[in-house]
């Protein structure tokens, strides 16, 4: 399975990772090799097999509908690269 440079660029765009031309050229055969190798899964007969959802049978719990968290704005913002007036700040998205 070859992964051409345009595909590498498209995937990197979806993953929100900026890549240079050289990186795209290096990644193209690298990702292709890995995908070639995982292609072998196609040969397994999985007709009628359910995909795995939980390795250990467990039921989803419901907790009581009460507030257990909150009121910790300063803690939430403590590691933000930029925070102002009690909010995360990002570059302007609406002109």
């Amino acid at each position: 399975m070859s992964v051409d440079i345009a595909t590498v660029r498209r995937i990197a765009g979806l993953a929100r990772i900026a890549i240079t031309e050289e990186e795209a050229e290096r990644l193209s055969p690298e990702l292709g090799n890995i995908l070639d190798w995982i292609e072998q899964l196609g040969e397994v007969d999985t007709a009628g097999v359910e995909p795995m959802t939980a390795v250990i049978a467990n039921r989803l719990r419901l907790r009581d509908d009460v507030v257990t968290d909150g009121g910790i704005r300063e803690s939430v913002l403590a590691n933000a690269p930029q925070a102002e007036h009690g909010f995360f700040t990002v570059p302007k998205v609406i002109e």
Partner: protein
């Protein structure tokens, strides 16, 4: 007086309880050993004040006649994947450089509640992605072991819990936490001649553990011997309502339950693990392991796990897929690195931040994960991999009809040299061939030292057990430990 850093968890715990030495003396010995071991690069952050404070608290409690906590006086190393309040937690990545959690992971909190102290945060493969510790942003960990051939080639401590394995093997920490997604506790334990157990998925809370692949990630202890692992695991395990996949079960008394007699037990030898080009030494070690378990009273049976060869490719779809989703949170907004060139917009900020903040292997896995989850490919890759995962789990279920535990080698080779596999991602992935299948099935599995190779490097044997049967795994590992007589240790060069 014995060198306190030669003691393991049990001896430290018991010695402090008996008053043979103080917790303060133990903490001082280990913090000094950590400070003197910089060439190993095992610790990213040293926290002697944490270890000393826990020690003083243990000594004060003893003086006051209080009932000792389970790990009173025991200092440990904490893998940097665990968030620790007020102490930088980076997963050895650039993108989380400077991140100082406002909260404590459940597993680390349980250890502190049990009386343990923290020597520091341990280096690892970046976001736990790697088998050699070469993907750390802060430089590779160097194994304390050297080949006996006179060469001084620096060796890989294994990965991803390579800081943990190096620290325990070098005796600068008596025990450490690890995490295991596809072998990240067991392979580094095997490479460095120590023990490590990945419990059943759901035994240890994942809350506060920086996520890699959530359906596989599981914390566990790494220590010098089987008993020490049992002691640490008892403190780490337990139900946590903050983790939706946490199992609501009592924590067994694993240490008290240890029993190296395997009378009436059946040990399965999976024939598919006899891979082509397996080194003769690994094969010979496996045979010795079979003989030891037979000597311990077990009946040996050959079993088949027919889908074994598809475990690695399935893993390298599922784990990157989950990683690409989990690591989407690193966007330069809420924590960690932000790269915002003058005039850049929000989308450019995301892409630049992630380009700058993630290492090559992390990017590679995010890209693979994004690819296999993308429109048109999802069913062919991801759904197919999850179906194969069902088949792999079914193989194990059938094996349990014939046996109680499985015995395999932990890794297909002894430790390789740093740099030896770095240029070939696939060669690196193949190192996890024996550990990944049990991870995909969520089973408890342990590595225990079995001997050394011709170069004097440790080799590990792996025990895999039924779901929730950590006791059976620990018991079989103990039976091996008692017969292997593994006493080799790295000569100090650091």
């Amino acid at each position: 007086m014995t060198d306190l850093t030669d003691l393991g968890i049990r001896d430290i715990r018991d010695g402090v309880r008996a008053g043979t030495f103080s917790a303060r003396e133990v903490a001082e010995a280990f913090t000094a050993a950590v400070a003197a071991a910089k060439p190993l690069n095992a610790f990213l952050v040293e926290t002697p004040e944490h270890a000393l404070a826990a020690a003083d608290s243990a000594d004060a409690a003893r003086a006051a006649g209080e009932v000792p906590k389970p790990l009173a006086g025991v200092p440990i190393g904490m893998k940097d994947l665990f968030c620790t309040k007020g102490v930088p937690s980076t997963a050895a990545s650039h993108i989380l450089e400077g991140f100082t959690p406002e909260y404590e992971s459940t597993v680390s909190q349980k250890l502190w509640d049990a009386g343990a102290g923290m020597l520091g945060k341990l280096n690892m493969d970046q976001f736990a992605m790697g088998s050699s510790n070469e993907t750390s942003y802060f430089g590779e960990v160097v194994s304390p072991w050297r080949r006996a051939d006179g060469g001084n080639a620096p060796l890989a401590p294994g990965g991803s819990s390579g800081g943990s394995s190096a620290a325990v093997a070098a005796r600068i920490a008596p025990g450490a936490t690890g995490t295991d997604t596809g072998g990240s506790i067991r392979q580094p334990a095997a490479f460095t001649g120590i023990s490590g157990i990945k419990p059943t998925y759901g035994r240890c809370s994942r809350w506060g553990v920086i996520a890699f692949a959530s359906s596989l990630d599981q914390a566990g202890p790494m220590a010098r011997d089987v008993r020490d692992c049992a002691i640490l695991l008892e403190a780490m395990a337990g139900f946590d309502p903050k983790d939706a996949t946490s199992l609501d079960l009592e924590v067994p008394r694993w240490e008290a339950g240890l029993n190296a007699s395997l009378k009436g037990k059946r040990v399965g030898i999976p024939r598919e693990y006899r891979v082509d080009d397996m080194p003769a030494e690994i094969d010979a070690l496996w045979q010795r392991g079979i003989d030891w378990l037979r000597d311990a009273g077990a009946e040996i049976v050959e079993v088949s796990l027919p889908h074994t060869r598809y475990a690695l490719p399935a893993y390298y779809i599922i784990a990157p897929a989950e990683a690409s989703s989990n690591l989407a949170r690193y966007d330069g907004v809420r924590y960690g690195l932000r790269d915002l060139p003058e005039g850049a917009n929000l989308q450019e900020m995301y892409a630049r931040t992630r380009a700058e903040g993630f290492g090559d292997e992390v990017k590679r896995r995010i890209l693979i994960g994004t690819y296999v989850l993308s429109a048109g490919f999802y069913d062919a890759y991801y759904t197919q991999a999850q179906k194969v995962r069902t088949l792999i789990a079914r193989d194990f279920e059938r094996a349990w009809e014939q046996c109680d535990v499985l015995l395999t080698p932990t890794a297909p080779s002894a430790a390789f040299a740093l740099g030896e596999k770095a240029a070939d991602p696939l060669a690196m992935y193949l190192n996890d061939v024996f550990t990944v299948p049990s991870s995909l099935a969520g089973l408890p599995a342990m590595s225990v030292p079995g001997g050394v190779d011709a170069g004097g490097l440790p080799l590990g044997l792996q025990i895999i057990g039924r779901p929730l049967d950590e006791q059976g795994v620990l018991d079989a590992a103990l039976a091996i430990e008692e017969r292997a007589g593994f006493v080799a240790r790295p000569a100090r060069w650091w």
